[in-house]
């Protein structure tokens, strides 16, 4: 479904992505992890062209996403993107957030869009908050609305850029559960996350990145129990709480 070929990206002199060659199959859940500044978010943002690349090729569903003449808006409407900071539209209700794009882009009738949005809000457990404004929702609820908003376009692919990093600890679980259910329903997902429990349980593959390179691609079992690259071994040792050491 996704194929990256020799992708390079620079921010000025700084090379943020180094020769990335990866692929994600349909229905697969891939978790990208690594230390901060390793290029995880940059990588996922190149997938819907929020970040331009300087060389290489990104194919999604067989389509080169940088092909001239590509309708970028049409293309993006088939990819759900969930941000770290939720980025709900604060002047619209939860329901309004979920109906804006379907009515404007897919030309859905308001009643139809509303029905679809209500079903999705129900799916993320927030049907009772449909008329709430984003400022009246907790962080976890906002992020779940953001997931429903992305799903409202019925995308075959969902991208998550650190969806739980801005959340209070007690709200992380509710968001991860929604993501897990989505994965179980067969959604193709790419998630940048520090939630190793989620990676272990839900991911088909884990990508480990450092300094703009993908250093390791492995199943969760291999990655967490038999990491190959020394940098990955180091990372896994570092993220373990020192207080768990004796266990």
């Amino acid at each position: 479904m996704i194929k990256l070929e020799a992708v390079n990206k620079w921010f000025g002199d700084y090379q943020a992505l180094v020769d990335i060659n990866e692929s994600v199959a349909k229905g697969e859940v891939v978790v990208i992890c690594g230390p901060s500044g390793s290029g995880k978010s940059t990588l996922i943002r190149t997938l819907n062209r929020l970040e331009p690349i300087q060389s290489g090729r990104i194919m999604i569903d067989g389509q080169d996403i940088h092909a001239p003449g590509l309708d970028i808006n049409e293309f993006r409407s088939h990819i759900g993107f969930v941000f770290q900071q939720f980025n709900l539209f604060p002047h619209l209700s939860a329901l309004g957030n979920c109906t804006l794009a379907p009515t404007q882009i897919r030309r859905l009738k308001p009643a139809e869009a509303r029905e679809r949005a209500m079903a999705l809000l129900d799916r993320v457990g927030l049907a009772h908050k449909a008329n709430a404004m984003p400022s009246e929702l907790s962080g976890g609820q906002q992020q779940r609305v953001a997931i429903a908003r992305a799903l409202a376009m019925q995308p075959p692919l969902m991208l998550f850029d650190e969806p739980t990093s801005a959340l209070d600890p007690e709200m992380v679980g509710e968001v991860l559960l929604v993501m897990r259910d989505l994965a179980r329903d067969g959604m193709t997902m790419v998630c940048v996350t520090h939630e190793m429990g989620f990676a272990r349980e839900v991911a088909d593959h884990v990508l480990f990145m450092d300094a703009g390179k993908v250093l390791e691609r492995a199943t969760p079992d291999d990655f967490f129990n038999r990491p190959q690259h020394p940098r990955a071994q180091q990372f896994l040792a570092d993220i373990r709480s020192p207080f768990d050491a004796q266990r």
């Binding site: 808006n73 049409e74 941000f83 980025n87 604060p90 002047h91 404007q104």
Partner: protein, 235 residues
């Protein structure tokens, strides 16, 4: 003082109307409102051009805005006074001349206020709107502008205050707005310019100070409601 007001208050408020053209304070307010109203779409268009991803739109808009902002209003009034008739071939009324000058002048200032309002929103708003598949224009229309305009409201009122004061330059093209009327009254009475111009100043002050306080109150209220987004203060 009192007899001065008694004798001239109608003239001061509406000029020679209904026996002649509308003038006085009413004309000042009409000119300021109409000026700002017509400048609004122009300012919006220039602001959008200024923040657009297309250089061919950005640069001309920037050129116009910087030129106008780097020019005293008096000069714009002169341009309007001499240029419009020579372009159209028709003699332009003083009101139209002054209105045209104000629209051009305020358009440039509004454009900068709106640009600040648009760029003051978190970048994530545009990004998430575009990620849904909305075009740049759709994202502006449905996501960015509804928020930005609300945050700009205090600045817009302050711009209205500026516009009210700017109308006094209509004096140089003999437009019978309130300053011109005051000078006429002073010329008729001859002996009491201090009181007449004092009353004129007081009139401007009450109007502008009141509006400024209203803007300040709105700004405080907006900040209380939504502390995350900075309220736009005039440049």
């Amino acid at each position: 003082m009192l007899e001065l007001i008694q004798d001239y208050w109608v003239y001061f408020l509406i000029g020679q109307y209904p026996n002649g053209p509308l003038g006085g304070l009413a004309l000042t307010l009409l000119l300021a409102s109409l000026g700002l109203l017509l400048a609004f779409p122009i300012g919006l268009a220039m602001a959008l051009a200024r923040v657009s991803p297309w250089r061919a739109l950005r640069w001309p808009a920037m050129g116009v805005i910087y030129t106008v902002r780097g020019t005293p209003l008096l000069m714009v009034v002169f341009w309007a006074y001499f240029l419009i008739p020579s372009l159209t071939g028709v003699k332009t009324s003083q009101f139209t001349t002054m209105l045209a000058a104000l629209v051009v002048f305020d358009g440039a200032y509004l454009a900068e206020i709106m640009r600040a309002g648009i760029q003051g929103l978190p970048k994530g708003q545009m990004e998430s709107a575009r990620s849904c598949g909305l075009s740049w224009l759709q994202a502006m229309r449905f996501v960015v502008l509804p928020q930005a305009l609300r945050h700009m409201l205090p600045s817009l009122i302050n711009q209205f205050v500026s516009t009210i004061k700017e109308t006094s330059l209509g004096y140089v093209v003999s437009l019978s707005e309130v300053s011109f009327i005051a000078s006429q009254i002073s010329a008729q009475v001859l002996t009491r310019p201090a009181e007449i111009y004092g009353l004129l100043a007081l009139t401007y002050f009450i109007l502008c100070f009141g509006l400024s306080r209203w803007a300040f109150w709105l700004e405080r209220r907006l900040a209380r409601r939504d502390p995350t987004v900075p309220v736009v203060t005039p440049p």
